[in-house]
């Protein structure tokens, strides 16, 4: 893409009067519980429907109502949908934060505010638009108690007019939003129209930002990662779901309940699944393990505190070799931390979760599409390798709105792994649960209820031999542990391979994972454009690491590992895995403030570290 398109971003406003088209971030500052969510979604969709790539990120407080919330819509013609550091267009609806919000803007930005706030006095290097919301609402909404709700829709109309968003698209978005609720739809539409008309009549466009039709979103969908994961798990043939509510994972299961009720009812009108709200995370994983042992495809979803509580059971699953899938929608820790902020801080704790020598498989989606596809990978790997698989998503991916290509129907059939049924046992006569017959470290199991006298075996978290009989023999213990190690080595060649994006003969590599991806792809272009730094990029998709990861590092002089935690957790895992000679090539860039990673921060830090 032309570098000139990219360059302006960092310094948005300074350009003065140059038109900036389909490249902006719009921030709506409001209070949570004020029902601004629907107007934000309408605005997002309207832009999306105009063919312009978008993303919507909600920055909300850890309480239920009355505190400041910021919703940021990014529209970008080049498809950069990660977080943008600078705000170009502020919709100031929250008196409490209006001042700070305005003061933190870069020169040249636009501000739309509620007349009484009188913000225009604050600065002279911004473009201000004021709107008498209450007056406008009063006209369109006779019922006083409804006004608070529709008030927010007014700014959608104003913004549409100022940014030249087609009102037809706004109407379409409103009708979709309120679906069957026609009365509500009409009321909101009227509110938006009132805003639009007011802006047309009384506001003089002075800002530089414009939305114009393009064709980059045709056929695409808008979805949050948790909903994508829910769909993915449904199509992965998940049968047992247990959970204990925790932000930001709750919506994964709550959405799944909706989908399963709709699409997973058997012929006899009965459920082909069980979803149980457990009393806590210890019970949630206990049920997952009990169900996995008995042959269900079982899962739970949680966040950091839940991961910690699952530690003891995770060790049991590793050692007794029981399948299960655990979604960790990461939020900021330690402890309760910042429950409504995003992070990649559970990587290290999860890799080695539980006492003793334990290791766990992790899959790391970066997009809604991967939340969907990795759900199938996770269940297949869990059953093939008879162990837990952790899917490490995060709040940014799980709870924010992402544009995505429609998901592809799973290409491979469900893989149940090495399970012996009655017929097999009749052939074999018997079996040894933990015997490594195939040299891959994976034994054969039977399911409880298998109607054959030789089907039963005894599962335990204490020492056992390959017949799963109790054993304290040093050699039995050691052999078993070494086999578990072999199994984990086998896993390397079955987990999703990394995605690699090449620059033009770059000496520098970047390794990142999960949602950092969106900041990285944008930053790579910035680095090229602004510092002519060429980079190759490897996006990790799983732990243990595959061959490609080692090769990538071998091929580069310096490799920057970018992640969203303090302690360079993934870089630590790399250190443990790499040939010592290669470790010297690693550099850490870590992002720690709980906000989604933005390209600018990476560009600044990397270029500095490169001495530019």
């Amino acid at each position: 893409m032309a570098t000139t398109d990219v360059a302006p971003q960092g310094t948005g406003g300074q350009l003065g009067r140059k038109r900036i088209v389909n490249d902006m971030s719009i921030q709506v500052a409001t209070v949570n519980g004020s029902g601004s969510q629907s107007s934000n979604t309408v605005l997002l969709r309207a832009i999306f429907q105009m063919g312009v790539p978008v993303s919507g990120k909600n920055l909300f407080p850890s309480n239920i109502a009355g505190l400041p919330t910021w919703y940021t819509i990014r529209a970008n013609k080049d498809g950069y949908i990660g977080r943008k550091k600078e705000i170009d267009f502020l919709v100031a609806m929250n008196a409490e934060t209006a001042q700070d919000d305005v003061m933190s803007l870069a020169p040249g930005a636009s501000v739309l505010y509620d007349e009484p706030l009188a913000l225009e006095k604050l600065r002279h290097d911004l473009v201000f638009y004021s709107v008498p919301y209450d007056k406008l609402v009063a006209t369109v909404c006779p019922e006083a108690k409804l006004r608070k709700l529709v008030k927010n829709m007014v700014y959608v109309g104003v913004v549409a007019q100022l940014l030249t968003i087609d009102m037809g698209e706004v109407e379409k978005a409103i009708r979709k939003q309120f679906a069957t609720k026609v009365k509500a739809a009409n009321l909101n539409l009227a509110a938006a129209q009132a805003g639009f008309d007011y802006a047309k009549a009384s506001l003089e466009k002075r800002g530089v930002f414009y939305i114009e039709r393009m064709n980059e979103t045709a056929g695409k969908i808008i979805i949050d990662g948790n909903s994508a994961a829910a769909l993915g798990c449904m199509f992965a043939g998940c049968t047992v779901v247990t959970w204990y509510p925790i932000t930001p994972s709750s919506s994964l299961v709550e959405t799944m309940i909706e989908y399963m009720k709709e699409y997973r009812i058997g012929p006899d009108g009965k459920a082909t699944f069980a979803i149980v709200q457990a009393e806590d995370e210890l019970a949630a994983i206990g049920m997952v393990i009990g169900a996995g042992w008995a042959g269900a495809r079982s899962m739970t979803a949680t966040a950091g505190p839940g991961i910690s509580l699952m530690s003891e059971f995770a060790g049991l699953a590793y050692y007794a070799e029981i399948p299960g899938v655990i979604w960790d929608i990461q939020r900021v820790g330690p402890s309760t931390g910042l429950p409504t902020r995003t992070s990649q801080g559970d990587i290290l704790a999860t890799a080695f979760l539980s006492h003793g020598d334990t290791k766990h498989i992790m899959l790391i989606p970066c997009s809604a599409a991967e939340c969907f596809s990795m759900a199938s990978d996770a269940f297949n790997l869990a059953e093939q390798f008879q162990t837990l698989v952790f899917v490490m998503s995060d709040l940014d991916l799980g709870m924010n709105n992402w544009m995505s290509d429609p998901f592809e129907y799973p290409t491979t059939p469900i893989k149940r792994g090495k399970v012996l049924d009655k017929a097999d046992l009749e052939k074999l006569g018997g079996f040894a649960r933990y015997k490594d017959l195939d040299g891959d470290g994976v034994g054969y199991r039977t399911l409880p209820g298998t109607n054959h006298p030789a089907a039963a075996y005894f599962t335990r978290g204490s020492g056992h031999n390959d017949k799963s009989n109790y054993s304290e023999r040093p050699d039995d213990y050691e052999n078993n542990m070494e086999r578990l190690n072999r199994k984990f080595e086998t896993v390397r060649s079955f987990v999703p391979r990394p995605e690699i994006l090449k620059g033009t003969n770059a000496k520098i590599g970047i390794i990142a994972y999960g949602t950092s991806h969106w900041g990285i792809i944008e930053s790579r272009d910035q680095l090229r454009a602004e510092y002519s730094i060429e980079t190759d990029y490897l996006r990790l998709r799983a732990y243990p690491f595959t061959r490609e990861v080692h090769e990538f590092i071998e091929q580069h002089d310096r490799v920057y590992v970018v992640e969203q935690n303090r302690d360079a957790q993934m870089l630590s895992l790399l250190k443990l895995d790499l040939k010592p000679e290669l470790i010297t090539r690693l550099r850490s860039i870590s992002h720690l403030d709980g906000l989604p990673l933005d390209a600018r921060s990476v560009t600044d830090e990397l270029s500095t570290m490169e001495g530019k």
Binding site: V276, G286, G290, P406, A456, T459
Partner: protein, 350 residues
Amino acid sequence: MATTPAEPRSPEPKTNHIGLTVIDYKGGKTTLCAGCGHNAISERIIEAMYDMGVQPERVAKLSGIGCSSKSPAYFMNRSHSFNSVHGRMPSVATGAMLANRNLIALGVSGDGDTASIGIGQFVHLMRRNLPVIYIIEDNGVYGLTKGQFSATADLGSRLKSGVINDLPPIDTCGLAIELGATFVGRSFSGDKKQLSTMLKAAIAHQGTVMLDVVSPCVTFNDHEGSTKSYKYVKDHEETLQEMSFVPHFEEIDVEYDAGTTVNVTMHDGSSLRLRKLEEDYDPTHRIAAMKRLSEAHDKGEVLTGVFYVNTKAPSFLDMLNMVDQPLATLPESLTRPGREVLAAAMEELR
């Protein structure tokens, strides 16, 4: 589980109504102390399962950690078994039943495994009325860690070391009833007839069965001053009913006097006959049951019998309205919706 031969054995051994001999219900050699109450309970389980003609392969044995929790290794080798982690058997059992509703879940726990570390999961299991037979092998101490008091130890009970317990015991039966379990009783590892009868009824029941079985720890808690010793229980036992059980598959039936005997018809058609030893004690009356248990406490009785039974309440599985076939073995055709479903979902999101 090689110890049980599958081939036919010596000419016509005694068999039960599904044609299995008692050997088909045996387990491995016990590693518990000689005389441990837990071993006696294992024997009763074998007996009851044999008499009821339960297919061993349908049974899932589940346990936590402790001497008691080890005992599933000593009975029914032809059943799958899961010796999980300390105090968390209830959640594992729940998961197993979700995966395969046709299993007969037999949970074995200890008083420490249940009343100390495990009380949280115990409470929620009882609340759900999940079909499971939950047996507490109750000796008032942590046997496997050498005899510290557990939360069922009685006030004033004394350890060999002389230490006195000054906290009130948790009455797991009282709790179970209060919380929603539908078959609750207490027995004694030394009372063969009562215990086997209760176990048979337990097998016939659908819903949570909670049996607190006093099971003396001969090594750490069978001395003078213990309230869980063989002697103490014998001296203080009060039995609510004299019970007998008529399985559904037995034609012949004995008369009983409706005035002195409560007849409970179980889900499978078997009947549990409780001849009242206490005037007007009605085991179907929740509040009365809890009242009687509290009184037993105040009187220092070791009260045994079937305290409460409710064959009407829906079980957790009923509430979930699952397909009849076990979820564990559903074919892909039932667990993975078709392409049209994905297409529809995608369309909604455009």
